[in-house]
Amino acid sequence: MIAPIYFLVLGSFKSVEEFFAAPFGLPAHFGLDNYRRAWTEASISTTIRNSAIVTFCSVVVSTVVSCLASYSIARLPLRGSLFWRLLFVGGLIVPVQLIMVAIFIIMRWIGLLGTLGSLILVYSTFGIPLGVLVLVGFFQALPKELTEAATLDGATDFQTFMRIVMPLSLAPILTVVILNGVWMWNDFFIPLVLSTRPNVETLPLGILNFFGVYSTEWGLIFASVVLSALPVVALYLLMTRRFIAGMTAGSVKG
């Protein structure tokens, strides 16, 4: 399981000659040359910023709108709440390859093609099905007395939601943030379609394009691949339990 990752990390420190001389061996020294060059030559400094902006904004937007919608579906007297729930959650099974063709046409039509904004809009939308799936289930399980007491005291629905429900919901919200955030950070298909200009490429797409250009500078490519995986892996190692619980919960229901 772990051997491929071992070779990847080892390779990121090697020079081109060392790859041929000792495929299994350790590099001569653990310098950061490859990393320094990858940062500038693979334009990781640009793509990592784009990825951070897109992931951050999309996670925030999709989580906020999912929380609001899930609360109205689960707890407010919303007409057709089952319909809305199925409509949102049904999005989990539609193939992205199909829908992205039409999204490309729509983005070209409204002039957002090749902007970070188009990526944020699409990721925010595609994050909703999972958010609704996890959060509606959680909100329904909250005891009714909590919200009823607040309403009797004269709180509006929004105040009840912000002051009573949100503070109790941090765990499922974190699950949604992790699941969607990791997917948005790692995904390259949506930018492959929508990032028609190099300065709006995200990290995975930038690295994919870099393979083609520098196909023999292996150490450099290894280093850029390690850099791209580092944030998610670090987060994963810090919060392994929550990751695994969230991933299995999300997939078991999905």
Partner: protein, 302 residues
């Protein structure tokens, strides 16, 4: 009191999500079904209405059929591995030990790596220049098996299956392990006291309790195998290098919609949408069949 008709608060709660979802999910989905009925490259004015013409062509398209067959092979190969090796691995890891936590963390790691990273790792491992698989074979005396794995059409698809297996195994193991937590230890102990062999305990105690996990794993696997795109695209590209040997439905659709990466590309967006709809229907039918079959099996074993 309620004389003035204003939208009630629950509508305001729903509105932001409904607006985003309507504009960038429902609208494009409906547009796909509508545009798939036309003959349109994706550029210029929308072409002529041809009804189900695109769909007729999809079923006669040799490239799409061979790609669909590759999806089937991927599904069958991974199903075989999942229901034997992965299950075995999960049972091994289920034993009580302080190593269980760390093991589980390592097993699941491939699932949080991006497809670009995973695809790249396997391209490198199998590379004829700097890979470690060929030198590895040499070192254990199997030098005659050395091979240009990704350049040979007869092995390239299987190399991709191995990369997909590495990623898929992570999720499947963790779901099986979660299922094993549902087996009551008293039941196992009782069986052992009654003189059941390890195999019999597994067959008559553990396996029945795992039935729901089997359902989840195999339905998710169908979705994983038939929607495969990312990893396949990283390794084989939109042309399914070498020579179409690694095309799957997802990459064929992408290639038809956005071009295959050469300068003389023509796009066929309407046709790609028809292919996408066919993929959606195929996946829906397979998932439904699996779900019905496995749910029945669940009831039988309980």
């Amino acid at each position: 009191m309620k004389a003035i008709r204003r939208p009630r608060p629950q509508v305001w709660f729903l509105l932001p999500a409904a607006a985003l979802y309507g504009a960038f999910f429902i609208l494009p989905t409906l547009a796909s079904y509508w545009l798939a009925l036309y003959d349109w490259s994706g550029l210029g004015p929308i072409g002529s209405f041809i009804g189900l013409g695109n769909f007729k062509r999809v079923f006669q398209d040799a490239e799409f059929r061979s790609a669909a067959l590759h999806n089937v092979w991927i599904f069958l190969a991974l199903a075989l591995m999942t229901n034997t090796l992965t299950l075995f691995l999960a049972i091994l890891l289920d034993r009580k030990s302080w190593l269980r936590g760390p093991y589980r963390a390592i097993i699941f790691l491939p699932y949080v790596l991006s497809p670009v990273v995973t695809g790249f790792i396997f391209e490198i491992l199998l590379s004829p220049n700097i890979g470690v698989v060929n030198p590895g074979l040499e070192a254990v005396g199997l030098g005659s098996l050395q091979h240009e794995w990704l350049a040979d059409p007869s092995t390239a698809l299987w190399a991709i299956v191995i990369a997909l297996a590495w990623q898929w195994n992570a999720l499947a193991t963790v779901i099986f392990m979660a299922g094993l937590q549902n087996v009551p230890p008293e039941m196992k102990e009782a069986a052992v006291t009654d003189g059941a062999t390890t195999w019999k305990v597994f067959r008559h105690v553990t396996l029945p309790y795992l039935a729901p996990a089997f359902t989840v794993v195999n339905v998710l696997l169908a979705i994983f195998a038939f929607r495969a795109f990312d990893l396949v695209y990283v390794i084989g590209g939109a042309i399914g290098a070498p020579n179409g040997a690694t095309l799957v439905m997802g990459t064929v659709i992408y290639g038809n919609a956005f071009g295959k990466g050469s300068y003389v590309d023509t796009t066929r967006m309407s046709y790609a949408m028809a292919e996408g709809i066919v993929l959606f229907l195929v996946l829906g039918i397979i998932a439904a069949i699996l779900l019905v079959y496995l749910a029945r099996r669940e009831r039988r074993v309980y």
